[in-house]
Subunit: 181 residues, 2 copies
């Protein structure tokens, strides 16, 4: 069976909701075997996440309350693309907004879907180095806590189930390998 | 600042949609500083994903069309929890349904949120070994293609941006480390 045999063709769409972070629609698709099915699709404009590595070998993490999880999670800095914004620019902007650090070097790690069964969100992961602290409004941001821990320790935590966020686990492990090359 | 200072308290909720895979609601929250904000929440019942390793060192991957991505993706086997279903049982069931293999040994790798900014989906990742092929209806499943590739090769692909799915990248890398221990 060839890959193209898997394709589902949209034959109808029902808009449900347009929001600030996500939209929701229900598509009707034609399956490869000719049957029809419904697909709930959460439309998201895309995002970035950043493994920001300081010269002292520490990686920057942010703790923030995540309502869908019902608790605060420790994650790498991340955020959504603004309309028309390139992922690289978004990565630098979000890093500075969330941590107060600007990166002089940005390397792409991977791009992946987070929940492709229902969400269109594609996230672009980066490794950021050559950081300098800037005069941002970081101190005004009461919804984030900045944490800096050695990359080796963060990798150990990622490998042992210490982080509860998929992009954080994936990006830390890929970045660690990239640094070793 | 202590972690508890980050907590957002729900003071109102507006149900938007109840679906088969996801529900959508918009919560109003009280922020730590006393202000109010809206939070779009995609409610999901949770899921599992499985790194299934054959005796010959090959890992089982499934290719399936993902409408939100607009294309087929290569992922580790995964699926949603049924009502009342334990994650372990779900992992064994989904593995067999999607690949036709039953696992005699199942080890938890990690549990994480996939998109905690808006989705409540918590996914439980497992390493499955001691596989035996069963008489399932796998051949009837025209929406999946089963692929078996050496774990080392899958890990290299995960590290070099070859997979476009966060759980697949994270779970392959954590499973690889677990096998090396």
């Amino acid at each position: 069976m060839e890959a193209e045999d898997l394709t589902e063709t949209v034959i109808g769409t029902e808009p449900i909701y347009k929001g600030r972070v996500v939209d929701l629609r229900v598509d009707t698709v034609r399956l490869p075997d000719g049957r029809e099915a419904k697909r709930e699709v959460v439309a998201h404009k895309g995002a970035v996440c950043v493994v920001a590595l300081q010269a002292d070998g520490k990686v920057l993490l942010v703790r923030q309350f995540r309502l869908p999880a019902g608790k605060a999670l420790l994650e790498i800095p991340a955020g959504g693309l603004e309309p028309g914004e390139e992922p690289d620019a978004c990565a630098l902007r979000e890093l500075e907004e969330e941590t107060g650090y600007r990166a002089a070097t940005l390397r792409p790690l991977f791009s992946c879907y987070l929940a492709p069964g229902y969400s269109s969100e594609l996230i672009h992961a980066y490794l950021a180095t050559d950081l300098t602290q800037t005069q941002t409004h970081f101190d005004d941001n009461e919804n984030l806590q900045l944490v800096a821990i050695p990359l080796e320790q963060a990798v150990e935590q990622a490998l042992s189930g210490g982080y509860e966020d998929a992009k954080t686990i994936a990006a830390l492990l890929v970045a660690h390998r990239r640094m070793a090359q």
